[in-house]
Symmetry: C2
Subunit: 369 residues, 2 copies
């Protein structure tokens, strides 16, 4: 049925009310819609099929490399400020997907950014990084085919940051971050260094590179593409490509997950907490059961539905069924929450079991004794 | 006679018309006058005796270390943008002086700053640095008792820059540099890293450190002292001390040497050029010889006199004599230029002869093959 689910139903089980905004807001920045490329992707990912990856920059380059069996790279990373949550999990899965498609894989622990932006000491970062890397390995990242590093230990990235410094104006920095301290601006240069690292001679030189990010990270991609252009003569950089995914809502229905609002859970939270958070989540349900039976729910605004769509219901047919059962008033919120809690807890337990075995490997990969 | 030359003469042969401005301008920034300390310095340097070092920050700490035979450090450096001139020569002599007084010695090649501020590539910096270091060795720097390094190769300095980044506000950066690109601000953080490098555990931990600088560099000292304070808990830094020297005028009598105005010479210029530049220099002479015989010259505004005072007339009695002979109309500009050219060329020839022998050593010190 997929990717043409629209033919079957009047409304799109993979759409959300926010998509229109994305398109309206970002088209003017030169983001291309992903949909026209979908049929050309050899094995589209879950996020591609479901339209969660809704946009891209220069993804054609990656497709071309895939088709011609040329070398290409994927890079992403994590700011080691805490445990994996459903947001970081998205990028994680995207990297692993591209690795499985043959990409040279780079995973960056953004400890400089964690320090400059969140005042996380490098010592503390180290500890969190071990946990994050163990998560990645448990999710299926192949360490043998990955370069996993910490910004603070990767001299080449910092060399690039210094080189790029000449071309980073105050105006650009303010546009991305607002008025902040210099350290944060510095970390933006370091991040640009991360993104272009796969193209250095020591990694085989210039190549198509895809950076899977949430739409909120697009300014960094734009900034880095601009630097790649300016330093083209020196390094022969190919402008990095990106895929852009939608952001997950908070469990309270607000448009973003936020530490302050505690409107999400992490893979480290107790099973009890996770269960409670989902039980108490906002939904797209109606005021009364009667009303819901008559009118149906509104999955488009429902974070529990979104959780299933983004992560926990793997089969596309299954998610379409949930969508329809909700829309037609057949599936009520209580029942759906119960089902979801079951799948989530099963995943979390299984993930933890796997992860335990990878802690030592994670320490080894990060070159910690 | 020195340091109390004022008792002997009504006016100070070591004063210039600009001193008053220095004192008026900088006292409000917390700079202390150097003169009261002079009698406590075991062996005052040429620049101290002559009041060319007119101010300081916390130099008492250095005196105390000298007297108690405790460890202390001196650090300065050069931005590898060109050949040594009479300005860079001042700092060079100051470092060597402190080394001879027992200081642990650090000499930094500011290649990151040269890149960010002047777009000098690291490759070009390398070449200039060899030349600069050979100059230092020819002037008497003992490489065995010095740590000579390039910013771009000194990871600890860059680690410090990243740590300090959190505390560097945009407002401070703009106050020091104006609105510039982020790379230049980054180089200010790197410079703060240089200044505090001698206090890291790998160099024996916190210690009094003197940074001999021209008054124009004081904002950097202030910035670094502020950072040392903020990161005191983490590193136990002792606030760095400084000595502040007056700046040399341009040969055209303008207050600063400037590449654009070509109003100075370098130790690399041909003997012919040096001779010509001095011959054509502005002086403190009168319109006619008759007038000068009657009224005397004005050494206070004369760059040729200043050249002698700052560098080429080593004996304090000799410079006092020149001052008086000028003031009383006995010594005319033509004659004084002739004398000065002779001393300068003799110095330059002798310096080049010595320097030649140090090129290989300089490459070795900079770890170039």
């Amino acid at each position: 049925m997929l990717p043409d689910s629209n033919k079957k139903t009047e409304i799109d089980p993979f759409g959300t009310s926010i998509v229109a905004d994305y398109e309206r807001l970002y088209k003017e920045f030169g983001i291309e819609p992903f949909k026209p490329l979908l049929s050309k992707v050899p094995t589209p990912s879950f996020y591609m099929r479901r339209g969660i990856i809704f946009g891209h920059r220069d993804f054609d380059r990656i497709l071309s490399a895939m088709h011609k069996h040329e070398e290409f790279a994927v890079l992403s990373g994590i700011k080691p400020t805490g445990e994996f949550h459903l947001g970081t999990l998205m990028t994680a899965k995207e990297i692993i997907y591209f690795q499985q498609q043959g990409a040279q894989t780079f995973y960056c622990i953004a400890d400089i950014e964690a320090y400059e932006d969140n005042k996380i000491s490098f010592k503390k970062s180290e500890k969190i990084a071990v946990d994050n890397v163990a998560d990645m390995l448990a999710l299926g990242l192949d360490p043998k085919r990955s370069y996993i590093y910490r910004q603070s230990k990767e001299i080449r990235v910092r060399d690039l940051a210094i080189i790029f410094g000449r071309a980073a104006t105050l105006a650009t920095m303010k546009a991305i971050y607002g008025k902040r301290h210099i350290g944060l601006y510095l970390s933006a240069l370091v991040q640009a260094g991360d993104i272009l690292l796969p193209q250095l001679e020591s990694f085989g030189g210039p190549k198509a590179t895809v950076i899977p990010v949430g739409i909120d990270q697009d300014p960094h991609i734009r900034f880095t593409r601009d630097l790649a252009q300016r330093f083209h003569r020196k390094y022969n950089f190919i402008l990095p490509s990106s895929t852009l995914h939608k952001l997950m809502k908070g469990l309270d229905g607000s448009p973003k997950m936020s530490k302050r609002q505690m409107n999400y859970f992490t893979l480290h939270d107790s099973l009890e907490t996770i269960k409670e958070r989902i039980s108490n989540a906002f939904t797209g349900g109606r005021a009364t059961i009667k009303e819901q039976r008559e009118l149906g729910g509104i999955p488009e605004i429902c974070p529990v539905y979104e959780m299933c769509l983004f992560h926990f219901v793997e089969d596309d047919d299954d998610i379409v069924k949930i969508y329809h059962d909700c829309k037609t008033g057949k599936l009520l919120c209580g029942e759906h929450k119960k089902q979801t809690i079951e799948i989530v807890l099963k995943f979390v337990k299984e993930h933890r079991r796997k992860k335990k075995k990878f802690i030592d490997k994670a320490r080894e990969v990060l070159q910690l004794e």
